[in-house]
Symmetry: C2
Subunit: 345 residues, 2 copies
């Protein structure tokens, strides 16, 4: 008579609903939530079920964080920076312009003090967070015309959101926020001049190459965007410890698998795009340098006006500065030499 | 009466022993096995226990793979390339000279077909494998004198093992294989001229800076060495599916945590080393270029004489070539621009 309740307590049947921040068509990034769901179910012999819904099926992405806070759904798997409208500090957990690459972002969050700082901030919205995916450095967008200098940005309608958009606005561009599904017709009609989306694999599926010939890099506003699993804090805390541990490990699995998928799929997609006539272009140095200057001015402005930003940004910036110094030594030289030898043929 | 046996089958008490390939003093890389052990225990409410032993306490590292194959212990957490004496193909799972960086190695194994190729090969030794850690690009070793050109390598006694040692031998050096604990006195007495170990954090603890002033980079023979969990195949297959899933997710957690720890600890250690007078030196281009040429000659020799090598190496090489093309675009340009701006001050 004692055994049954004890077992019921340690392995209860739990069903959660998770609203993804992404449509199913973005299979790699959407797949992160599926990886978590499957791993948690497999680990618990099906006792802990997390049902994944695409963005908009239950909850549109802009309302997903509120929905988790209000316990309408238990979780969302999404980009923290979709919520910069609530507070720009949400951007730091994902990526901010000229920030960290994927390894550095993982390191800062996991072992560099970032997790605690972010969870203190996210805690104001009633959620806890797990890093659960990354796309790597994104591309810099599809342009109908070449950009030769900062002057060419003046008045151009560039589909780019968040802090990247604020930096572009400082350079004279007119950032546009339109949903992914509306980008193609807007580029085709010339309603917008340029649009950034993700990277080769995701971009190729939307066919942008047919309406904008120049494919710029790098997406300097997203050097290594982390995707997060956000969970209602009370629901998380009510989980048995074993399910908490399962959720943490499953998130790490999603983190690894998503990055690996992008690092295989983009390799194929960039070859296919270039083979079909897409013109790769590096943003000119004067654009990058002006954007860099504008970026750190923006960060200082935010630090002066927003205590949340200041609290998370300052230790983040210290890690960035010191990490860059180290990564420039062994890691960067290894990459640099290998790529140079390849370019020589 | 039915419930108890069913529960016993789905969550049996299992105790495994794992021999680490590393001493406890290498806390970050040794810690990978502890991360796996803790996660698996937490996830299963303590039912699946993996006890971790430092290298040599039960089994010395060179015998660990045999010990897992023979089921003397169930698992080892180690570098596959420690077993190149059995077959050079063991090196590919960890890192081979001028190979992949950490992200690329993860991608190739996880999503690029590597896991299947490696497990077919490892299966000849009765084990299954999980990627469970990485150090990132290692440093190129501690030298008592500066190396100005390939000529300076002639006859120098360099503590370096595996395929890196075979490449160095082609360049005229005399590779030495001595255990980590013997490096310091050998460098101090001048019995050896140089020694490679890991990177700033691990190297600093052994005090090499006191006996060899020049700290070279990059460790081109280890661009992104993956650390593996190897498990006796029959023991793995006998696990309940839920424990298999737990082991997989726990390995992913160890993979993330180890990389993040190195990417935080090395940042601090390189500053400390440089602050104490260590002289950082990049290997001269003629050394790197000669090593690059010697490396790919070696790979062709191995492909001609070893069917295992050929089978794993050729698809690996294809991924490397195509991945380099993609990583050179967004990822490398993002890093490159950021590091350049930092260097400008």
């Amino acid at each position: 008579a004692l055994a049954a309740p004890a077992i019921a307590q340690s392995a209860p049947e739990i069903k959660w609903r998770l609203t993804s921040g992404f449509p199913k068509s973005l299979d790699t990034i959407y797949g992160g939530a599926e990886t978590i769901s499957k791993a948690v179910s497999d680990i618990t012999d099906g006792k802990f079920q997390i049902q994944v819904f695409p963005s908009g099926e239950l909850i549109p992405t802009p309302q997903a964080l509120d929905a988790v806070q209000n316990d309408t759904v238990e979780a969302t798997h999404t980009c923290s920076y979709y919520y910069v409208g609530k507070d720009p500090t949400f951007a730091i957990g994902t990526a901010i312009p000229f920030g960290l690459n994927a390894r550095q972002q993982n390191a800062w969050i996991t072992e560099g003090g970032g997790q605690q700082l972010l969870d203190e901030f996210y805690g104001q919205y009633g959620v806890v967070s797990f890093v659960a995916g990354n796309t790597g450095t994104q591309m810099g967008g599809w342009w109908r015309k070449e950009i030769k200098s900062v002057a060419d940005l003046s008045g151009v309608k560039f589909r780019i959101a968040g802090l990247g958009g604020r930096v572009m606005a400082k350079l004279g561009a007119a950032p546009q926020q339109i949903p992914g599904s509306d980008i193609y017709p807007a580029l085709e009609k010339g309603t917008i001049d340029a649009a950034e989306w993700v990277g080769p694999y995701d971009d190729e599926k939307l066919g942008f190459a047919q309406v904008a010939k120049y494919y710029y890099y790098p997406g300097f506003w997203e050097g290594g965007p982390a995707i997060h699993l956000f969970v209602n804090k009370a629901k998380y805390e009510a989980l048995p410890d074993s399910y908490k541990a399962a959720l943490k490990a499953a998130s790490a699995l999603a983190n690894d698998v998503m990055m690996a998928k992008y690092d295989v799929k983009n390799v194929t997609a960039i070859r296919s795009l270039v083979g079909s006539g897409v013109q790769l272009r590096r943003y000119p140095n004067d654009v990058l340098e002006a954007a860099y200057k504008a970026t750190f001015e923006l960060y200082d402005e935010l630090a002066a006006e927003n205590a949340n930003w200041k609290k998370v940004y300052e230790p983040w910036k210290k890690y960035r500065e010191e990490a860059y110094q180290w990564f420039r030594v062994a890691e960067y030289t290894f990459d640099s030499f290998g790529y140079t030898m390849q370019a020589k043929g």
